[in-house]
Symmetry: C2
Subunit: 452 residues, 2 copies
């Protein structure tokens, strides 16, 4: 197995192709390392420059007086093999090649040359033609997209691998915006050297990764991929969005990355066999991964607590449509609920706390429902538009997540005020959703994974 | 047919149950009329108060010296029939009863009394047990939810009717947040007097309404509903989200509003027959309605323009999965495109403008593709994370929408920077989506509606 630790958690890093021009990729990468607070040493490499953003600049990596763990390469494609050779000579083992201009534009020979150098020096190369690597815990960020355009997520346990840089950029940006904590991220581009199987293997062993999410267009080593995935899903869930599912999509994927996408039916059967969870839409990658970050659940009997009757009805529909079951409250639960509810509310599931519910009523209801042995997962609907609801309900739910022994999913539909509160909950590891259908589809995948 | 104009566009309005206490519904409503800049007269009604938020307060509507078009009622349920009688005597024809405490809590007799009074005076009553009415063009806003919790949308052509107040509140809030322009909104609660058939009939005649969207739990006059809907969909699209689709959902809907929801298969068949477009998820109400706000399209041949290859592949998959067709560019189009593209880009559909595309490249590509007679709808993917993209691309797309003769849908996936730019486009009537699957599902409904 490849040791990719120097790529994800380097103590020192060279940026080859570093530039003084603010618009250039080689400038943005150095600046992002500095702005992001990378604790290790950063060595800008450029033969024509002495100093850059306050750092001493070296002509080649060979000229750097200290050891270097890893390098990020952003030079013209034609220079890459030579640069890799120097990395090899220097003893660097992990390199991220951002540069494009290889097999993806028909330049197969140059990519073969790159592979030859990598093999000669046992270099683990990510890319070429990729977006880079992100490890928020190590403040390692080789992604050249400006921070104001693409946010950086907080530290967490969900790791992403993306064949496409474009989709990868969207993934990071959405995760940052939604308050989802990220383990490792890698956009691996042409996968000339390190491929999806290597990356899965690394993330399987990575203690900080609890859930693995992948955007794939094609898989080069199909058999190994499945064998590896099947082994991993015994311990960690893998969620995959496979592009190139349609006939035209396969063609488009081929012209995009040169991947042989293969028939989707074959992939689907293989995913199923390996207990890989398939997402059908981009959003589902997040929806599912948030829910699957819970360690375990006891079954598929769902309790619904709501302050809006209509949304409760939609959630009940979604329970049934996703093959889940509406829990039946025990007589004790009903008795306890009746004590805390106004007389115009029903002590039944879905539990409508009605429009004037406040945080205190949610707290009591959650406490009672969490204790019912006939309930496996609690779906809490909070409509923040109502007069009785404010930030206190967030504390109540966070507390229930900490002390309760049951997974919670939250549904909150709305604009700015709602989004703000959803982000807080998501950042506390409570998965929130904008609609009942999104929430229950995710709960269903979670329940299915726990059963396996 | 009922004349509901005084309810949606009153020149003068009484707020019965107006209060000096900021927390009370009767206070929030008066304040919202004032803050919102309602141009007509507002008459607070409360026998115990002389003055309220700078307005003279009257004991009853009978005491107001001028004519009153409409009244909003927020008093205890038991007082509502008496208050309606006074409205009738005063010559008011449209009343919105916010107050709950009627059939939804088993108080059927009181609701019957309300109906009796309404019939006697030919009062058009919305509610009881409803959220109110919103008409942004008239600055008529009888909704008691605070503005910081639930935004108010700008003026537009999409009108919403919602049986559920909770779902209605979410609809307004989401529309406001997304920059979607709203025609009329009404939450009609128990529908004791004015029901969904009346509301459809009104919106059918309303010149400012171009698209009708409904959240329904059940329909009281099924036959009339379908007859009316079938007539309307010849001229205006109707999009419906029907809750109570599952067995348990039907039960939940019944206990929520007392609606007899009926089997979903029956509804589905009827919707199909009436060319009503069914949404399966809350988000689809918006996704579909934005796209259907375009007047017309020529067919289902889709061109895709993108600056991210991976997202392009996902869009191609979604084209096929939604029964649409990937357009084949004409030789002339391909020739023109080759002139404006860098050599490493393909002049084919999906058209990948590649990662360094800027607004100028989008402008030229859009111009060429819009002219191809083999293209019916243009799907533009803009990933705002890339270095070359900024607000200028929004101007380019807005201009293409104004001058081009073909519908455009935009896909932009990402966080804050992306959301900001999506809202601008949505507010210019360019439907934007966060993912290829959402966009193409909406385009498919649009194409299907145009074919009928």
């Amino acid at each position: 197995m490849r040791d990719l630790e120097p790529i994800f958690d380097p103590k020192s890093i060279a940026v080859i192709g570093a530039s003084r021009e603010p618009g250039k990729i080689g400038h943005v990468i150095v600046k992002n390392f500095l702005d992001g607070g990378f604790a290790g040493s950063v060595y800008p490499i450029n033969p024509n420059v002495d100093e850059l953003l306050g750092l001493k600049c070296y002509p080649t990596v060979m000229d750097v007086p200290s050891n270097i763990d890893s390098a990020v390469v952003a030079v013209h494609a034609s220079l890459v093999p030579g640069v890799l050779k120097e990395c090899g000579e220097k003893g660097i083992t992990g390199v991220v090649v951002i540069s494009g201009g290889f097999s993806e534009v028909g330049n197969v020979a140059l990519e073969q040359e790159l592979v030859k150098v990598a093999n000669k020096y046992s270099l683990n190369v990510i890319g070429p033609n990729c977006l880079g690597v992100l490890n928020p815990a190590a403040r390692n960020d080789s992604i050249f997209l400006p921070i104001y355009k693409m946010g950086r997520p907080k530290v967490g346990g969900i790791s992403f691998i993306s064949q496409s840089g474009a989709v990868g950029g969207c993934i990071i940006d959405l995760a940052a915006r939604a308050g989802i904590g990220m383990g490792k991220f890698v956009s691996y581009g042409n996968a000339a050297v390190v491929d999806e199987v290597d990356l899965l293997g690394y993330l399987a062993e990575d203690e900080k990764t609890r859930v693995i999410v992948a955007y794939l267009e094609g898989v080069k080593r199909g058999r190994e991929f499945l064998k590896t995935a099947k082994e991993i899903t015994k311990h960690k869930p893998i969620i995959v969005l496979k592009a190139g599912r349609s006939k035209e999509g396969v063609k488009a994927a081929h012209s995009h990355t040169g991947s042989l996408a293969g028939s989707h039916e074959v992939y689907q059967a293989a995913f199923k066999q390996a207990h890989v969870i398939e997402a059908n839409r981009l959003n589902e990658l997040f929806d599912f991964s948030k829910m699957l970050d819970y360690p375990v659940c006891s079954g598929g009997r769902i309790a619904i607590i709501t302050n809006g009757g209509g949304t409760g009805v939609l959630a009940v529909d979604a329970v049934e449509e996703n093959g889940l079951e509406l829990a039946k409250f025990s007589p004790a639960t009903e008795r306890e609920l009746r004590k805390i509810l106004p007389d115009y509310a029903n002590a039944a599931n879905p539990l409508d706390l009605v429009g004037d519910a406040d945080a205190a009523r949610y707290e009591k209801a959650l406490d009672i429902v969490m204790k019912d042995p006939g309930v496996d997962v609690v779906v809490v609907i909070v409509l923040f538009q109502t007069v009785g609801i404010d930030s206190r309900v967030v504390n109540v739910i966070v507390k229930a997540r900490e002390t309760g022994r049951k997974p919670i999913a939250v549904i909150s539909t709305g604009g700015e005020y709602t989004e703000f509160h959803r982000r807080i909950m998501d950042s506390y590891g409570i998965p929130t959703y904008g609609s009942p259908s999104d929430a229950l589809a995710s709960v269903a995948k979670f329940v299915e994974y726990c059963k396996k």
